[in-house]
Amino acid sequence: MHQLATAGGGEKPLLALRDINMTFGGVRALKNVSFDVRPGEVHCLAGENGCGKSTLIKIITGVYRPADGASIEFDGETYSHMSPVTAQDRGIQVIWQDLALFPEMSVAENIAFQTVLGRWPKLVDYGRMRQIATDALARLGVTLDVDLPLKEYAIAQRQIVAIARALVGEARLVFMDEPTASLTQSETDHLLDIVRGLSASGVAVVFVSHRLAEVLEISSRITVLRDGALVGVYPAAGMTQSRITELMTGKTFDQQVRAKFRDGQPVVLDVKGLSRPGQFEDISLSVRRGETLGITGLLGAGRTELALTLFGMLKPASGTIALEGKPVRFSSNRDAIAAGVAYLSEDRLSLGLIQPQSIADNLVISSLDKILSGGLLSEDRKRSLVARWIADLGVKIGLQQDAISTLSGGNQQRVAIAKWLATDPKLLILDAPTVGVDVGARAGIFDIVARLAETGLAIILISDEVPEVYFNADRVLHMAQGRIVGSYDPRSASLAEIEGAVYA
């Protein structure tokens, strides 16, 4: 393939960065980093959150100015720093993770938005805009109605619109920041095809993704950063996911199946024939004391809806839920919490934690009744309850009063788990607990999950990353289109077998 040919080496790089240093308020975000991209290659930038990836992208696109002594060479010209205007003029484009699109405006305007820029007002040329947009989409082999407002399209198409917009400016180098984070597998495949097409047409793509499988699939070379320093540049051929993880974290992760036999334990949750038309159908499952039940499947398989139903936030149309043998019917999640069900939300940032509030307040929000003293909230009780859970789950914090937003993703997730443990649940539902959590911190979270299971808690672990449930659950259920279509025992099934079924 063309992409392999251009990645073959020996060619003059399109972009070459040398001696990049960057300091924020005394913290060195980048230390003597070099980075280069060859024309038309797909290059992956890998590293944990906070390793300096975004800082590097912002330096290349001119948002930040690196410390003196840096050299940025792009297509024969050398700069000591970039400016956003220069970067755009030279064909360096970024597709931000949040896309920075305008949902109320038409697809054509979103793609050809640069035509309405400029210092002085002029009349808008809608015909030209439509033409530019149609051409850009045609280059990607996509047809969209360019006159419709963008909000009519789903996230996958919006991603394509963002790429089309980047191409309008005669792009030579395109940065994609987590472009597949909210896409399903088939949408991701389509996106990767588009990336291959760009590469074949001579546009270099720098791809940032935490999904290592697709990183290996799409890129020709991988640059790994750790703590602001360059670890190395590696050809993708011959790389493995676990090797990249090791390079990114500097630690070795020896993943082993944790599954155990739990059949002797009493059943905590027993669900029979649960249905919510259009979301899930005829779901029957049970979880025993100390058991971790994994549920996996693609986005939209009905996993989260099932979890919200077990948590009393959605009402089933038919079927029964029994907790410790007693049938229950929740009219709200307050009933579910009182009955001993805890649900760790999929979206920790906006739903699970109240970001500006303190660590302590976040932790006790679901168990305020436990810190009452004479009918009023007791600061002393709160402090000791918080201290207990912080110590128990090994959360690294400054003060209890610090805002939760000051913690890293992994530590925030621990607080979110502690919040629910403080309610003394019998059943803990973890919905995508590692989204936005670094590889290194993920292992810590699963250690906690395993420990909690040992204390007798029944756990449902929901994730669209098959390895997570495979290595950390006792049994794995596969959901597709609202139904349970497979049940696996990690001790006898192989990871490839489950992945094959889920991603088929």
Partner: protein, 333 residues
């Protein structure tokens, strides 16, 4: 046509509601269905439509303004005084003075919002109180009746007696209103500045990343509303033939409701001139109809409040569900 219905669902449904209400009123009252009444409605609604298209621009840019109606009163006083200084003036000088004063008052809002990062509702509630307080303080609540003759004389640009004996008239306020509507339409749909305003209201961070001048956006949006408020204020003084300090007090909420009814979104990025005009007309027609039906004026506000509530509840996503042919999603869904 079909895609127009789809992308202009709010306007189409407003038009449908206006037609339905008009049909009911034509049957139930003797005088509603006449050209004369239709032109009366236009004359009566002109000032509110001028205010509304100005406010629309601010809403599109993601802001809100509570102060424009009392700002218009300030402009009326300021213009009356300035006209006295220059010895009378005329329509041209009057509109120039009123427009400039209006822009100045709008720019004060933009300055507070942009420079001190005050959110627009708080900034304009403050200026609403300041403008109104200053006005009442300096005028001591006294109205001005001795306005220049050119300002109080009715200007009829076109009149024609219909066979049924009613008169159709196009007055100066209607002409000014039409010009303001066209100018606003050109600004927001045909100029690059207008599209930047939409983009800024829709996704401020996205607009910033494109290098759009955020400060300029605020000054253009609030300046435009100021201009419309100034012009509308002068036209209202002409229409009422007097300047009363609290005449426009409270008008801001009526206009805001009409603009939101017309599909503009609090939060920015959405709204059209057509919807805005239809929103004002729907409220005027209802009021006019209630009047002709002999409903007590004391019940007007209540009924109009209920209509706004129903219309806004039905609008946006829900209206699409009511009209299934409108709601077919994009090709990729």
């Amino acid at each position: 046509m079909r895609s127009f219905v789809r992308t202009h669902a709010t306007e189409v449904s407003l038009l449908a509601v206006i037609i339905a209400i008009s049909a009911v009123l034509s049957v139930s009252t003797a005088n509603f269905f006449s050209l004369g009444n239709a032109f009366d409605l236009l004359n009566i609604s002109s000032v509110n439509i001028i205010f509304a298209v100005g406010l629309l621009v601010v809403l599109i840019a993601g802001g809100i303004d509570i102060s424009f109606a009392v700002a218009a009163s300030v402009v009326q006083y300021g213009t009356a005084i300035a006209l006295g200084w220059i010895g009378g003036g005329g329509w041209i000088s009057g509109l120039l003075i009123a427009g400039s004063l209006g822009i100045l008052l709008g720019a004060i809002n933009a300055f507070l919002i942009h420079r001190f990062r005050v959110i627009s509702i708080v900034a304009t509630i403050s200026t609403f109180n300041i403008y109104f307080g200053l006005l009442m303080f300096f005028t001591k609540g006294v109205s001005i009746y001795d306005l220049p003759d050119w300002l109080t004389d009715r200007v009829i640009l076109f009149e024609h007696e219909m066979p049924d004996g009613t008169w159709i008239e196009i007055t100066l306020p209607v002409l000014v209103m039409v010009l303001c509507v066209i100018a606003t339409w050109v600004l927001i749909t045909r100029t690059t500045t207008g599209r930047q305003l939409y983009a800024f209201g829709d996704n401020p961070e996205g607009a910033r990343r494109f290098g759009i001048n955020i400060g300029a956006m605020q000054f253009i949006a609030f300046g435009w509303l100021g201009l419309m408020a100034g012009i509308g204020g002068l036209i209202q003084a002409h229409y009422a033939q007097e300047v009363v300090p609290n005449a426009l007090y409270g008008r801001e909420l009526d206009v805001l409701a009409a603009v939101v009814l017309g599909g503009a979104r609090l939060g920015g990025g959405k709204g059209s001139v057509l919807g805005c005009v239809l929103g004002v007309l729907l409220i005027s027609i209802t009021q006019n109809g209630l009047n002709l039906m002999g409903v007590s004026p004391f019940a007007f506000k209540m009924i109009i409040g209920a209509i706004i509530l129903v219309a806004i509840t039905l609008s946006n996503s829900r209206i699409e569900r009511l009209l299934p042919f409108v709601s077919q999603k994009g090709a990729g869904r």
